[in-house]
């Protein structure tokens, strides 16, 4: 009965979400609070039903219920417990169910948090969110039904893609989808602002934390995706400018722009139109991302199977784009700025420049991603756009952004005086220049490396200088060191949370730069007893061994690694042979280090174990990327803490 029960739940959820959306919208327009309350109940019901649906699907996986097609396609009797759980969202239909569930969770949280404090906007936001949920429920009932019955019931299933049988796959989709769906909240409130014409700061202050949370999860999702790619795929990289990576990166870029530009509206009542455009754009890009992965329009390693679902998504994308942008045009007259730009040398203008660069980066990524399509439409020629294009265009933009990251938070609002500039930037600029010279003297010739290191030090020292001065001021008031620092962080949590996130981004930058500029690799075939040499290390091939594991067969090579000291460690890269898959899956062996990672991938081998081909890499500073992610996490937590009013 599982298939029928599941489908029934989803149909009721669809009806309830549709009703709730209409009721909330009507209630908001007519001011009838009974309708709004009724919509709230519907939203709670939708959450309960979506939870029931996802639990039911998980139950079907745990009990090997192969009468559900989706279960049969994504698990076998041999699939371990945890991968039967992750298989719930491992393929198309399940990913939609996870998505819808998260949206219903966000809707519930919005109701709990804002039903008292944002009475004007919140019914509209609830209507918009339930509308989006209704769309996903429609997709699940018509186009990608997770509970479709499979008949006759097979004895065993096909199994989850082995590449997805990794712990990264537990967390990567969850973080990414929490980010994607999270941007629905600011979008929904923005729609409320447009619908009511109250386009002041209300929607911005209401959604500030939501936007930060969504941005954070999106960042985390991207980082975990990079980590998964790095330690599972075995090509030694973490980012490939694949269309679907781009699809997740674009809303990150516009979302980052939004986080900054709303500050100008809060402070100077400017950029109303721009902020609404950005939030709409960000939401549209999250939809575009789902469209891209599920429509089969662009070839990608992330592509799910195709079907009518692409047309559904394009229809919804068009509906949202045209509705939202038309609303924007209708409200044009109230979206004028109340403030004006006083000087080019001011915080406003630096933030504006930051926005221009971020949106330009998003645009180039978008352009590169759809260019193959454009080329085929216009010239009839199939082309692919690779990493060199994206790197070439984006690296200068990102380096400029890092520079602005140092300037923006400290330059004065309205008009910066020479004194303000000297006070805040004399030392950091000096340190940055010294850093560049030191790099040059030490023989670093990659301009990318020199510039990133100099800029990183510049930005880090602006933060340090600011924190030092603020602490010193408190010490002069008679506080002791640690209470002074802690109090500063908590009282000005928004400011210092932001700084901490900036520092995290700097750490990530160093990691990206180091791996880009200084990693080395080699590929070679070794006979038993022979060694490969790379980056001061020696890798000696000692032999092969085979072993049957739970649901695959493993062939591992044994390599003794030394650097001056003999027998530093033993590494065992392997190949995993899954019975249902043609090609074996590489099992990367790696040793992470602060300075460098050792990274080994086993290639072809002789069956008697006499020789093996290996790829060896010494990847520099990659760990800094993951450490940067932790710093970003701390900063985000600090930034979303409840506000504390300064004493007095």
């Amino acid at each position: 009965v599982t298939p029928e029960l599941g489908e029934g739940i989803l149909i009721v959820a669809l009806a309830l979400a549709l009703y709730g959306s209409v009721a909330a919208g009507t209630g908001a327009r007519t001011g009838r609070s009974t309708l709004i309350e009724s919509a709230q109940h519907a939203a709670v019901g939708v959450f309960v039903l979506m939870t029931a649906a996802i639990v039911l699907l998980a139950y079907a996986f745990l009990t090997f219920d192969f009468s559900v097609r989706y279960v049969a396609s994504n698990t076998t009797l041999a699939t371990p417990f945890w991968y039967r759980i992750t298989a719930v969202w491992g393929a198309l239909e399940g990913s939609i169910i996870l998505w819808a569930w998260m949206l219903s969770l966000y809707t519930l949280l919005v109701i709990l948090r804002h039903r008292e404090n944002a009475r004007d906007l919140y019914p509209w936001a609830m209507s918009a969110m339930l509308g989006v949920i209704a769309f996903f429920a429609l997709v699940m009932t018509v186009s990608a039904p997770p509970f479709q019955r499979l008949s006759p019931v097979p004895l065993d299933g096909r199994g989850l893609n082995p590449l997805l049988q990794d712990t990264g796959m537990i967390t990567h989709p969850i973080a990414l989808y929490l980010g994607f769906t999270g941007f629905t909240v600011p979008f929904a409130f923005a729609m409320g602002a447009l619908a009511t014409g109250r386009v002041g700061d209300a929607w911005i202050t209401t959604t500030r934390r939501w936007t930060i949370v969504a941005w954070y999860f999106l960042s985390l999702g991207l980082l975990i995706g990079g980590w998964w790619s790095y330690h599972v795929l075995g090509w030694g990289g973490y980012w490939a400018w694949d269309p679907v990576e781009n699809a997740a990166f674009m809303p990150w870029l516009t979302g980052t722009a939004l986080l900054h530009s709303v500050m100008i509206q809060e402070r100077r009542r400017m950029l109303k139109l721009w902020n609404l455009t950005l939030v709409i754009l960000t939401f549209l890009l999250t939809l575009f991302g789902t469209f891209l992965t599920r429509s089969g329009v662009i070839a990608s390693v992330h592509a799910f199977t195709q079907g009518t679902i692409g047309a559904f998504f394009l229809g919804f994308l068009s509906l949202v784009a045209l509705t939202a942008l038309t609303l924007l045009a209708v409200r044009w007259d109230v979206l004028r700025s109340e403030g004006t730009l006083d000087s080019v040398i001011s915080r406003e203008s630096v933030f504006l420049l930051n926005n221009v660069m971020l949106v330009a980066a998003a645009f180039t990524v978008f352009f590169g991603t759809v260019f193959p399509l454009l080329s085929e439409a216009v010239r009839g020629v199939k082309v692919s756009v690779g990493a060199p294009f994206f790197n070439q265009v984006n690296i200068p933009l990102f380096l400029s952004l890092i520079f602005l990251m140092g300037v923006g938070p400290l330059i004065a609002w309205r008009r910066a005086s020479v004194d303000n500039l000297r006070r805040n930037f004399l030392w950091p600029v000096t340190l940055g220049v010294v850093m560049a010279l030191v790099c040059f003297v030490l023989g670093v010739r990659s301009s990318f490396a020199v510039l990133s290191l100099a800029l990183t030090l510049f930005v880090a020292s602006t933060v340090a200088l600011d924190f030092f001065r603020a602490t010193r001021a408190r010490l002069r008031m008679g506080e002791t060191l640690f209470p002074a620092m802690g109090g500063l962080l908590l009282r000005h949590n928004r400011r210092y949370g932001g700084f901490l996130v900036h520092l995290g981004i700097l750490v990530i930058t160093v990691g990206v730069m180091g791996s880009h500029a200084w990693s080395v690799q080699t590929e070679t075939t070794l006979k038993r007893g022979e060694s490969a040499h790379l980056g001061g290390y020696q890798f000696r091939f000692d032999g092969l061994s085979g072993r049957q594991e739970a649901n695959f067969f493993r062939v591992s090579g044994t390599f003794t690694v030394s650097n001056g000291k003999p027998n530093l460690l033993v590494m065992t890269p392997a190949k995993k042979f899954y019975p249902q898959d043609q090609a074996p899956i590489a099992y990367v062996d790696y040793r992470l280090g602060l300075k460098e990672d050792l990274y080994m991938v086993l290639g072809d081998f002789a069956r008697d174990g006499s020789q093996a081909t290996i790829k060896v890499q010494v990847n520099r500073l990659v760990s800094w990327i993951w450490i940067g992610g932790l710093v970003v996490t701390l900063g985000t937590v600090l930034a979303v803490l409840p506000d504390r009013k300064a004493p007095r």
């Binding site: 068009s318 924007l328 759809v370 193959p372 454009l374 043609q582």
Partner: protein
């Protein structure tokens, strides 16, 4: 001026949406193989029934070389009935279908053939040499070879009746 400008915002979305809609008309899996236009690499492989089958011997016929495997679910399972239908419809019109089972065991392959009642010849690519020659990187993949022994088209993924008919009718019209 601003009156026009304001409506430019929603209108600007239209070309992008149109481009994405166009995306449905193209198939990114229709990959141009460098082998298209080149002579099909010759092979002689043992059939499941025993006697070897050679590509060379089919010269003069339009040949369809279909790479499959019993573990390739669902794509190969979807296309097997379509292939059998095509074989019955075209076998007397000078079309030869050859199934090449790759990376598979004899038993599983045999069971697959019986399950779908396949009547066209199927060979086993033991060691995978032929799939390497044809640049196969996933199953199913299908190559259409003309009467002169040249690869004229490659299809990645499940074959449908329409795709099959489209390629075959074109090649059948050509003279030897």
């Amino acid at each position: 001026m601003t009156r026009i400008l304001r409506w430019a915002i929603p209108l600007s979305a239209l070309p992008v949406l149109a481009l994405l809609a166009y995306g449905f008309r193209v198939d990114p899996r229709e990959i141009k193989s460098p082998l298209v236009g080149r002579p099909a690499s010759p092979f002689t492989l043992a059939t499941f029934d025993g006697p070897p089958l050679s590509l060379e011997a089919q010269r003069g016929k339009v040949v369809v070389v279909n790479f499959w495997a019993s573990w390739c679910y669902p794509s190969c399972y979807e296309e097997a009935p379509a292939l059998e239908r095509a074989w019955r419809a075209y076998r007397d019109r000078g079309v030869q279908i050859i199934g090449v089972d790759i990376q598979d065991t004899v038993d599983a392959g045999q069971k697959f053939i019986q399950q779908f009642g396949l009547t066209f010849p199927n060979v086993r690519d033991v060691g995978g040499k032929v799939s390497v020659d044809y640049g196969v990187y996933g199953v199913p993949e299908t190559f259409f070879v003309d009467r002169r022994g040249r690869i004229r088209a490659k299809h990645v993924g499940s074959l449908t009746d329409e795709v099959f008919r489209g390629h075959i009718e074109k090649l059948l019209k050509e003279a030897t």
